[in-house]
């Protein structure tokens, strides 16, 4: 029953970003981290660790695949559907691979007033990303044809005083005026070698 649900609900769409991530597999480090995280909650409340486990998985493998989802469910001794309902609710979790560098531009008022809409347009232009298929909920995450970049709007990143702001993977950038879009990309492009 539960696997049936997964089969019908988990999109397995490959994106150009897949080349930069290993397919999900359980490493001793991941196992250890999961066990540590689970120990932070009462023994009969393992389910509480689901967000932390999903973060650990997504951090390493880029997104939450069906295999990853089943592994998390097994670790927490809950039905896979309970993990899926979490993954599908929170904007912070992805079900397909992002680019190697995932950029989240703040869309909300103070950043929009400072030009974050134009910043997004500029980034789309420079990376060749087409966001026209993204819905008002910013889905799906749009990946560049080369797989190196992906773009998404985020809601207020809590730095409105230094607008416009964005996150690139885990790095926070403030005061990113639209004309600084190229500099931002160059920084990551050249950090690659």
């Amino acid at each position: 029953m539960s696997n049936d649900i997964l089969e019908h609900n988990v999109a397995l769409e490959a994106t150009p970003g897949n080349q930069f991530f290993e397919p999900f597999h359980v490493t001793p480090e991941l196992e250890a981290e999961a066990n540590e995280r689970i120990s932070h909650y009462p023994a009969d409340q393992k389910r509480s660790a689901v967000l932390m486990l999903l973060h650990a998985v997504q951090h390493q493998f880029g997104y939450i695949s069906a295999e990853a989802l089943e592994w998390v469910a097994g670790k927490l001794e809950i039905e896979p559907i309970k993990v899926l309902e979490v993954v599908s609710f929170y904007p912070g979790f992805r079900q397909s691979a992002p680019g190697k560098f995932h950029i989240r531009v703040c869309r909300t008022l103070s950043c929009a007033m400072a030009g974050s809409g134009e910043l997004m347009e500029k980034l789309c232009e420079l990376t060749g990303i087409d966001r026209s298929k993204s819905d008002p909920h910013h889905h799906p995450v749009a990946v560049s044809p080369c797989g190196k970049w992906s773009l998404e709007f985020a809601e207020c990143l809590a730095s409105c005083g230094t607008a416009p702001v964005c996150l690139v993977n885990d790095d926070f950038h403030e005061g990113v005026a639209p004309e600084k879009a190229q500099d931002l990309l160059t920084k990551y492009d050249s950090s690659e070698q």
Binding site: Y90, P91, L109, C156, G161
Partner: protein, 463 residues
């Protein structure tokens, strides 16, 4: 010891720094050594020698009101734990910081994590909690690392963990990360999220966290800034602390200013001691070149907008006074009397270059995106409001759409499981009430007669 700040980050002379004393400070870092060098964890030591009830009494005497949004008295909240409780008590620090316009907790968790940890351990001791969680929004990945490192350092010195400083009191603190959903800032949504579920807020009553919170056990949820204030209340004593600020609006609070001012940023001030004029002109350098202030959203995007040319009747003591917008002091009671709220301290400033339809549409997109979807008025209504304001900015709206917009807002307000319903409808109610002419001027009766296919016609009927 003299305190100096990084160039360009010096506090304004009207500021009063307690919580932000170490933010952007020269030579300051997040290490435990640095914090200890300035008397860090001395208040924890003091607290552990006090009666737990007398700590709560100090917090009550301080008059501290929660800095997360609702402004509820912290000491009173602590007192709501049922006296005959036998379950474990939990403390949760709300670091979801997701109300648009708010950016204060960010600096505390990135630059002064030990202040927060000290505040949390003291608060745990006061309310009898042995486990605490810091719920950090997912978009603060660096903060999660910094705070976890700080907890580990504190544990190594026995400020956290078993038998804290030999007092016999056990206290563990863990970091829990969110995943990009605004509704996790609402305390019962946060609790559901911590339980590993979708963050659907719970109905109050009966689910007041202090009585039935995490795992249905008594749980105190407080904002990051609120918990930091506890350290200073213990240092100063509740009564001394209450001398800061004004009556019923005590202490300091951090105002976050963004939008159309010359110098946006954070300012820690005594509550109620600074007016909009002082904040916007003196501290933020006034409007941008050639511009004039038009309107201000005073306490995060959910709070009702105020026009800069409005004046208000405000009760002061026994008399009523007429105050122009610029002369309003920014405290909880005054902003409530002006029909808005102090909320989270996020002040968003708009100048005369801004179209209100565009501003409203941006806000509506936020709420339509963030509704958890659990109750119909909010889930459907927030999307309807978004679609209506989409129509206005696209020039496709007719004047009656403005009335529809207003009516949708009033059908959400007060009819939902959680206060998100108000958060999403108040901006609409206020902008329509105060800028109706401007909104109507962007509509056209010609749009009434637009030829629609039957599908389009029925779609617009239901929006």
């Amino acid at each position: 010891m003299s305190v100096t700040y990084k160039a360009g980050k010096e506090p304004h002379e009207k500021e009063y720094r307690l919580i932000f004393k170490n933010v952007d400070r020269e030579g300051w870092d997040t290490s435990l050594d640095t914090y200890e060098n300035e008397g860090g964890y001395e208040m924890l030591n003091k607290a552990l020698k006090m009666e737990t009830q007398s700590i709560t009494n100090e917090v009550k005497a301080s008059g501290l009101r929660g800095r997360g949004g609702a402004g509820f008295p912290t000491g009173v909240k602590w007192g709501f734990i049922p006296p005959n409780n036998t379950k474990p008590v939990y403390l949760i620090c709300n670091c979801d910081e997701s109300e648009p316009g708010t950016f204060k907790d960010r600096y505390i968790v990135h630059q002064d994590p030990h202040q927060l940890i000290e505040g949390m351990v003291i608060s745990c001791f006061a309310v009898g909690a042995h486990t605490a969680y810091i719920y950090i929004r997912e978009e603060f990945p660096e903060a999660a690392t910094i705070v976890e490192k700080a907890i580990a350092e504190a544990r190594a010195k026995n400020y956290v963990g078993k038998d804290v400083l030999g007092s016999g009191f056990d206290c563990e603190i863990y970091v829990h990360r969110g995943a990009g959903a605004y509704i996790c800032g609402e305390e019962t949504g946060l609790i559901e999220s911590l339980e590993g579920k979708r963050p659907y807020p719970r109905i109050k009553p009966p689910y007041f966290p202090a009585a039935m919170g995490l795992y249905l056990a008594p749980t105190i949820v407080n904002n990051v800034e609120s918990l930091c204030h506890v350290v200073h209340i213990l240092r100063m004593g509740g009564e001394e602390y209450a001398k800061l600020g004004v009556a019923r609006n005590t202490g300091t609070r951090i105002l976050c200013v963004s939008g159309d001012v010359k110098k946006p940023g954070y300012f820690e001030v005594e509550v109620g001691k600074v007016t909009f004029r002082e904040l916007l002109f003196d501290m933020c350098g006034g409007p941008k070149e050639g511009r004039e202030f038009k309107a201000v959203i005073p306490g995060g995007s959910s709070s009702k907008i105020l026009r800069c040319d409005e004046s208000f009747k405000i009760r002061q003591g026994d008399s009523e006074v007429n105050l122009d917008f610029m002369d309003l002091p920014l405290d909880f009671d005054t902003l409530a009397a002006a029909g808005s709220m102090a909320g989270s301290g996020g002040v968003i400033v708009l100048d005369d270059s801004r179209k209100m339809s565009w501003v409203l549409n941006n806000i509506n997109h936020f709420y339509a995106h963030e509704s958890c979807g659990q109750c119909t008025p909010c889930r459907e209504g927030s999307t309807w409001m978004r679609k209506l304001s989409d129509r206005i900015v696209e020039g496709k709206a007719s004047p009656t759409d403005i009335d529809t917009l207003e009516s949708v807002a009033y059908q959400i307000d007060g009819k939902t499981v959680c206060a998100f319903g108000e958060a999403s409808s108040w901006p609409v109610e206020a902008i329509v009430a105060k800028f109706k002419d401007e909104l109507v001027s962007e509509t056209s009766t010609n749009n009434d007669d637009a030829i629609l296919t039957p599908e389009e016609a029925s779609a617009t009927k239901y929006l």
